[in-house]
Symmetry: C2
Subunit: 204 residues, 2 copies
């Protein structure tokens, strides 16, 4: 199965569909897009489009087999899944590392690295924080594709270059700075301070 | 001075301008938009538009007085600033509460509340975490305008309603759910898990 591209909004609804479908899977065999839309208080057209894109067309009058829908949606998330690591085990880095919410999308942050760590440590959540010297070998062995930058701006570019050298092609950057990357690398910036300021600026 | 609305991108550049202008304020008296653009590696048109919106027009051939630019930009951030509180002192809540980066926009999270706290506690950063019973009084006394929701989805709407009852008009929601709010309330959603999944889905 080749992964098709869907919008951020559609992707965001997959865990909602999955939760609902798993809840009802023992009660019923089939379900229509109309019924799902009604139960989840979503637009029917939206649900129809999402399911058509992710799982193909339903059958007239019958709709979808619930178990098949669940499998298709889980398969999609499986194709989306990439191995991710964090560099920078400060407050934001550790909070992300220990955050359980990624699992609803089948994502997992598999390791964290920090230059202040010389011997392997454990986070509060019991996950390993490694010294930077282990970074390259870990990325190669584990085919890491996503790097999360949670270091201060001053060293963000250096860490970014290292990540790219280690084969990482997607960067999620929490440092408030602009990174220079090759064309085939995707960077997604997260600026918490700007988000709060922007919200404050939206209130009249 | 009435606060004019600017784009998220323009707002995001204010701390960058301020840092640079403060760095050079003792070396020079005037500066042109052209020179700022060159130094900061930004587009000249962009810098001109930003400064015109935030600080008015510069003088032909002279540009701007650096000290006046700094004052205008600081004044703008002063007008943006709102009092914010967090409900939910779990990992994400505490990381945000202790995060120092908000200051670059003049923002500050002034208190955190948690239903599991019965007597005032301290965060790692030495800031107070209060029991929920103190929430209403704190919001009223401190004219809190922004509420940050960092509780599980199941209780997010309840906390949202409480915030609105306490006069909060801007909500920053880290719970993966949809909130019902009155028309005059602004909600900004932050879904970390979706952000990571979306990045993963963007890599080919």
């Amino acid at each position: 199965m080749k992964r098709i591209e869907v919008s951020r909004a559609t992707l965001g609804r997959i865990p909602i569909y999955l939760k609902y479908l798993n809840d009802i899977s023992e009660l019923s065999e089939n379900i229509s897009a109309t019924a799902i839309a009604k139960e989840l208080d979503m637009g029917e057209v939206q649900v129809r489009k999402d399911l058509a894109a992710l799982c193909g067309a339903g059958k007239p009058k019958i709709g979808y087999k619930i178990n098949e829908l669940i499998s298709s949606l889980e398969e999609y998330l499986e194709l989306v899944r990439k191995r991710a690591v964090i560099v920078g085990a400060g407050k934001i880095g550790r909070a992300l590392y220990d955050y359980g919410g990624f699992e609803q999308f089948g994502q997992k942050i598999c390791a964290a690295f920090d230059c202040a760590v010389s011997v392997k440590q454990e986070s509060k959540g019991g996950k390993s924080i490694y010294p930077m010297k282990d970074f390259k070998a870990f990325c190669n062995e584990n085919k890491v594709e996503i790097g999360i930058i949670a270091v201060p701006s001053e060293v963000a570019q250096e860490i970014c270059d290292l990540m790219i050298n280690c084969g990482i092609r997607g960067i999620w950057c929490f440092a408030p700075c602009k990174l220079n990357v090759p064309e085939n690398t995707v960077v997604q910036y997260e600026n918490m301070a700007l988000s709060l300021a922007y919200l404050a600026n939206s209130i009249n």
